[in-house]
């Protein structure tokens, strides 16, 4: 994991002092509401329906046990005892008081954490696949490049007042779990000629009210040119991105209106000016960053040890959890464990201070003291010995963290919605809960198989509804909360946007609608076909017919 040196610490200390001063001036009335707004946003502070909301950056989702304990302390000390994992691998607190925020940030700085650029019209936290470094199908660990991008994008003086927010994702695994194609810039680690590793770069993806899948502008960028390529893209965007209309200000609109080819020409021109400048990466810097992510001290072990196989046979609950939540690891004898935070009745992504501490302890004991947050709002312990999986599961179970629904219909993504968010058209958490209650039979869930169900409370799409296999969107219909359903979205390698099935539904209808959709899939699927594959084969009509036939 990356460790700060004197420079990183100094910059963070400078930032904390700067924000303390800004907050004081705001409280003293020397800084107006409008002028304070972007400053607080660039420090992660929103003002919401009930209280301020503070978003903490978790660079590419990685946390140490020490940091987890600090987050638990903060949940307890400044909040109401819980925190929330976001869909961009960050953490949010819903109840800190404005006056406490500078102290809270100082506490975070002690463990090399901050809230810098977690909101506002700037470059946000760079995200990646939560299995980075442990996945068997990885070309190269993406985290070193994420860290390089983190540093380049933090306090970038030219890009602090962009037309709109800017999100970058990097993916080094073959199976994309980072929703790379719906980011403003999506970066795939790829192999070029002579097996050289480099980057394929997409631009102009994004969700929100105008969802777009990113388009390729460079099929291969050498490692050393990573930052100059990014800087060139940002420069064109900063100058030409629309500032007349907030809803048209994302880079996706600029790319669309300019045309990808023309946009690429502009970027190429800018790039030529800086390609071989001091910003060109050095081998030393890439090495330096990679060293922070060297393999932990793995033992020589064998796969499927008897400690595991015995328990798999004797304990069906453990076996069910194992088959769903445990994935193969690149190192023999190890597995990747995902702790699923989708317990029915708990808002997706919510975690208590006690659970944070438990995870910290368990990661120390079983996974080299590190965890990752996934964009599906779960937690990953990436390096667990297979002969210790059962012990870990027992411990998780005693902490009510052994949900075995990873990747299944009830492992849904859901935004805070009308219960917390001032922009909401409709509530989303109660919808999530109603669906989870409807589908409470594990056997049935595994029978349905892999399914992404995503819920947003308005078209800002924080809950990624466009890229859900089933997407649910809260809409306002003459002052009533209604829900629009779409099918066929995906944020994986073959990213696609869902298609709206038809007129929207009342809240109480939604669980039945989902059940009908699932019913059509089960009837039509061939063999092992996943929902998304069946949908792609048969299209939306069979679903439509059934759903609305039933409603009549």
């Amino acid at each position: 994991m990356y460790r700060y040196d004197g420079y990183d610490h100094q910059m963070l200390a400078d930032r904390v002092a700067q924000f303390r001063d800004q907050t004081n001036r705001y409280i003293d009335g020397k800084l107006s509401e409008i002028e304070f707004l972007p400053l607080r946003l660039q420090n992660g502070l929103y003002v919401q329906r009930l209280a301020p909301m503070l978003r903490i950056a978790v660079p590419y989702g990685m946390l140490s046990s020490t940091q987890l304990r600090k987050l638990a302390y903060i949940a307890n000390h400044y909040d109401k005892g819980y925190a929330h994992f976001t869909t961009r691998q960050n953490i949010q607190y819903n109840w800190p008081a404005l006056v406490d925020v500078p102290d809270l940030l100082a506490d975070l700085a002690e463990v090399e954490m901050h809230a810098i650029q977690t909101s506002g019209n700037c470059i946000r936290n760079t995200t990646t696949d939560q299995f980075a470094g442990a996945a068997p199908d990885e070309l190269e660990d993406s985290r070193a490049y994420c860290e390089i991008i983190r540093q380049w994008s933090s306090f970038h003086p030219e890009f602090a007042y962009l037309p709109r927010k800017f999100k970058i994702a990097v993916c080094g695994t073959v199976d994309d779990q980072a929703a790379t194609q719906v980011h403003d810039i999506g970066i795939y680690i790829v192999k070029g000629d002579n097996d050289e590793i480099g980057f394929r770069i997409l631009v102009g993806g994004g969700l929100g009210r105008t969802p777009v899948i990113g388009k390729e502008i460079f099929d291969f960028v050498e490692k050393k040119h990573l930052l100059t390529a990014l800087e060139a893209i940002l420069r064109v965007y900063n100058r030409e991105g629309r500032r007349d209309n907030k809803y048209k200000a994302r880079i996706k609109i600029l790319v669309k209106e300019t045309g990808v080819e023309e946009f690429k020409n502009k970027v190429t021109k800018e790039w030529a000016l800086i390609k071989d400048s001091s910003l060109t990466l050095t081998d030393e810097e890439i090495d330096r960053c990679q060293k922070f992510f060297d393999a932990p001290n793995y033992q020589e072990l064998s796969n499927t040890p008897t400690q595991l196989t015995d328990k798999l046979q004797s304990n069906i609950l453990f076996a069910a959890w194992h088959s769903q939540n445990v994935k193969p690891h690149k190192v023999t004898g190890y597995s990747i464990v995902t702790v699923c935070f989708k317990e029915t009745g708990v808002a997706p992504g919510d975690v208590t201070d006690r659970q944070l501490e438990q995870i910290a302890d368990l990661s120390d004991e079983y996974s080299f003291g590190e965890i990752r947050i996934s964009h599906k709002q779960n937690i990953v312990m990436a390096d667990v010995r297979q002969d210790q999986l059962f012990e870990l599961w027992k411990a998780l179970e005693s902490g009510a963290m052994a949900s075995n629904n990873l990747g299944l219909l009830t492992d849904l993504i859901c935004c805070p919605g009308g219960d917390f968010c001032a922009l909401a058209n409709a509530k989303s958490i109660p919808i999530a809960e109603a669906i989870q209650r409807k589908f409470d039979d594990h056997e049935e869930l595994t029978n349905i198989g892999e399914m992404n169900l995503n819920i947003s409370g308005c078209m800002n799409a924080c809950g990624h509804h466009h890229v859900g296999n089933i997407g649910i969107l809260g809409v306002d219909k003459k002052g009533e909360e209604y829900y629009q359903v779409s099918l066929g979205g995906s944020s994986k390698n073959n990213a696609s946007l869902g298609k709206i099935i038809g007129p929207s539904f009342a809240q109480e209808e939604i669980p039945d609608v989902v059940e009908t959709i699932v019913g059509v899939y089960k009837e039509k699927r061939i063999g092992e076909e996943k929902f998304i594959d069946t949908y792609n084969r048969i299209g939306i009509d069979p679903f439509k017919e059934k759903v609305y036939a039933k409603a009549d």
Binding site: D5, Y7, Q10, M11, D14, R15, Q18, Q22, L31, E35, P38, L39, N121, I148, Q151, W152, S154, F155, H156, P157, E158, F159, A160, Y161, L162, P163, R235, N238, R239, R243, L273, I274, S277, S278, L279, L281, T282, E285, R288
Partner: protein, 166 residues
Amino acid sequence: MPKLINKNTVITNPWTVMKASTGPEILQVVPGKNFIVPLQFWKLYQEELNEYDGNIAVWLDSDENPEQISDELHSLPLIALNFPVFSDGRSYTNARELRQKYAFKGEIRAIGDVLRDQLYYMAQCGFDTFEIRHDQEAELCLQAFNDFETGYQSTVAEPVPLFRRR
């Protein structure tokens, strides 16, 4: 007279920014001034400006860019870049471009909605002087240049990025 600072101190301001709506008559009415004229004015009234007896500089709005004056800019003593609102970030890119792409050696000045909390970034991007908004306290503004000891990036003020220095 708007307050002007550089990165160290309050300085006297010999220049007057001409508003975008001003017509060429002003050159007759007010002789011997040092005007920073809008780009369009500069393009339209070259002749009148050549005859004028005061010094002339140009300001670019945030939706204009240095390319529009790339041929002539080396003859200018000063180019001012406007911030119509502080949250419009385009002039940062213009400043950097003036310095790095066009190697402009004259003074670059920030004008418009120039506030304390953006000064550090402006200085990094190549601005030398800052005409701060009337309600800004100069003393407070001068502290802004020490907000950070250093940064990660390659900037105009520090072209060597931290990864080549650490």
